[in-house]
Amino acid sequence: MKYLSEYRDADLVAKYIDEIHRTVTRPWTIMEVCGGQTHSLVKNGLLQLLPEQVKMVHGPGCPVCVTPLHQIDKAVHLARAHDVVLCSYGDMLRVPGSEMSLLEAKAAGADVRILYSPLEAVKIAQENPGREVVFFAVGFETTAPANALSVIHAQRAGVKNYSILTSHVLVPPAIEAVMDDDEAHIQGFLAAGHVCAIMGIEEYYPIVEKYKIPIVVTGFEPVDLVQGILMVLRQLEKGTYQLENQYSRIVRPEGNPEARKIIGQVFEVSDREWRGIGNIPGSGYELRAEFSEYDANRKFDVRIPKVSESEECIAGQVLKGIKKPYECPQFGKKCKPQSPLGAPMVSSEGACAAYYHFLQVMEEVE
């Protein structure tokens, strides 16, 4: 853990916090895009250490949170009605669908499995040739290479009973969607370090220019975060807007060429619906036509009615940073991690759950 402990150094964090206090002269609003950053800010108690003038808003970068209700319903339907082995990452299981979550489908008898890697799902398909295995491929650019690789593996090994239900989302179009929203007043961004580790940083230059906002590619440890925030604040105070890379120990400007190649080989950019936000053009990945036999959507022809979201959930406004989780009338009341109304209360990276778990702004009355 040597590599991490340096970035959890209390003294260093205190130094950066001091520097932030010295730098700030007026109010600023900064969005951290990635849910992992939200989690770390809240878990480490960093938000209370920042000056009052610095308002951090929590962006849409929680893959579980933005996976549309309809996709979850599809996964549940596949698991129950088509008797497939439905595999996914752990925190996807508790997200409520319109009728039930995957965890509830599992309790009701469906074969739902938690995996850490889609390659495991290919292995399960090879071991169970008589059964269809579907991997629920959610995530940002970070999980795309592994999901793409699983399809390539399956194709090379001649595995026919494997497919993926894609619900991939991309960060840069989401930043633009936030900036285009008249209600969101974001003045600077911490870009998601791990997404940039895969994709590189080039996509962000046009955004910096178009909206004239500073963007700093930032890591996830306490020192990373306070340093990233300081870098944004310095630009804001000076009135400059540039793309900077705080996370250069991991992020190379060109990203990971090998991973990008695999993504490009298997996926193509498509429009994508985001839970709580709506359709964002060019914000997702679909399987290319030559891999259509691995596309669960085409393989199973799932036709189920589209159910609309709970009207009580303001997830969309939370994901765009317009409202804080505790400004939702249902926060901590009707909506809790054990009975979530919307997805941001489910994943530990969701802003609502992070606030609920670690801050408890609302006193819980049992």
Partner: protein
């Protein structure tokens, strides 16, 4: 001799008897001929003692004056063999430890098996060896038992229930009612090792690691502690399912007091903390099997800690927090980097994160 060497020695000393069947079938739980053949096969001779040998419907024994403690627990762990132990050891240590948390030395244990048809005799034998090993380590006798067999698919290889009774230490006075502001919270060893060892062998999540379960008897350490400190020990708890966070939340809720934890002081093995990092788990919520939390009077805390650190498994014992009348019913963690956060009760099982 190391614990692992002792186990190997026992395996060599107790070879499996020759049997005319390799797997458990429904008939072995029927109560008829096959059941008797299983009982007479030498399989259960492993657990031999005078009370068990009477083969009566229950055990009859004398008791001495004083307080007794009684506890029960069921064991359904999957997989049944894991790095550092097996379900049999867990079933003995677990109930012995629950009694130890009452301040009692376990004396007698009941042992109920629910076997799934198809379990191999080899597996069953290895589980029984685990039981024998743990019984000898803890000094408890298995005095009554039961074996049922269910159809394939109706169980998961083997489920075990153990109940135990034991005499409470004459100087012990352990109860939640005794917890008061200012009390110190001590932990007897590093957290999260058991849960991570189990995860490392779960299907679909396998990863290579040398992390082993911390399953171990706590009774000797606890009895020694009570000999020395008696009623200055206010409460004992083993943070099994739900981990340290759950136990402390329950405590804060029940006694209507707050708890302040120092993240810096909480012992976690480096490998375990690395695995938690990778898997997206918080070690405070991961299960333990061989450590306990002691809430002790402030003036005795340093001496109790010194004692714990002198015991065989106690070298990383630590003082991790304080009971306070501020923020009642909340557990607050002072993070390593100087922030503060609430440690909440977990919701269901901790699920791994995506990225």
């Amino acid at each position: 001799m190391m614990v692992s060497e002792q186990k190997i020695k026992m395996q060599l000393q107790c070879p499996m008897p020759k049997l005319d069947f390799d797997i458990i079938t429904l008939g072995h739980g029927s109560g008829g001929l096959l059941t008797n053949r299983l009982l007479d096969s030498g399989v259960f001779d492993l657990l031999k003692n005078d009370l068990l040998d009477k083969r009566h419907d229950g055990a009859i024994f004398d008791v001495s004056a004083g307080k007794m403690a009684f506890s029960t627990d069921s064991y359904v762990i999957s997989p049944i063999f894991f790095p550092g132990g097996n379900i049999g050891e867990l079933a003995v240590n677990g109930t012995v430890n629950d009694l130890a948390m009452c301040g009692a030395q376990a004396q007698y244990l009941s042992l109920g098996f629910i076997l799934e048809e198809g379990l191999t005799m080899r597996e069953f034998w290895d589980v029984l060896l685990g039981i024998k090993f743990a019984a000898e380590q803890t000094g408890v006798q298995i005095v009554t038992g039961d074996t049922k067999v269910v159809e394939r698919g109706k169980g998961d290889k083997i489920f075990i229930n153990t109940s135990g009774i034991g005499m409470v230490h004459p100087r012990a006075d352990i109860s939640k009612a005794r917890v008061q502001p200012g009390d110190k919270i001590l932990i007897s060893g590093p957290v999260a090792s058991h849960g991570i060892a189990i995860l490392s062998v779960r299907q679909g999540l396998e990863f290579e690691t040398s992390i082993v379960s911390d399953t171990a008897p706590l009774n000797h350490t606890v009895m020694g502690m009570l000999d020395l400190f008696g009623d200055r020990i206010h409460l004992l708890h083993d943070p099994t399912r739900g981990g340290v966070a759950t136990v402390l939340n329950e405590l804060a809720r029940d006694v209507r007091l707050g708890i302040d934890l120092q993240e810096r002081s909480i012992p976690v093995l480096e490998e375990v903390s690395g695995a938690c990092e990778l898997l997206g788990l918080d070690p405070l919520y991961v299960a333990n099997e061989g450590i306990f939390i002691a809430v002790v009077a402030a003036e005795a805390a340093d001496s109790v800690l010194e004692y714990l650190q002198s015991t065989p498994q106690g070298n990383s014992a630590a003082m991790i927090g304080t009971v306070t009348d501020e923020h009642p019913r909340q557990v607050l963690l002072h993070s390593k980097i100087g922030g503060k956060r609430v440690v909440n009760m977990p919701v269901g099982e901790q699920l791994p994160r995506i990225c």
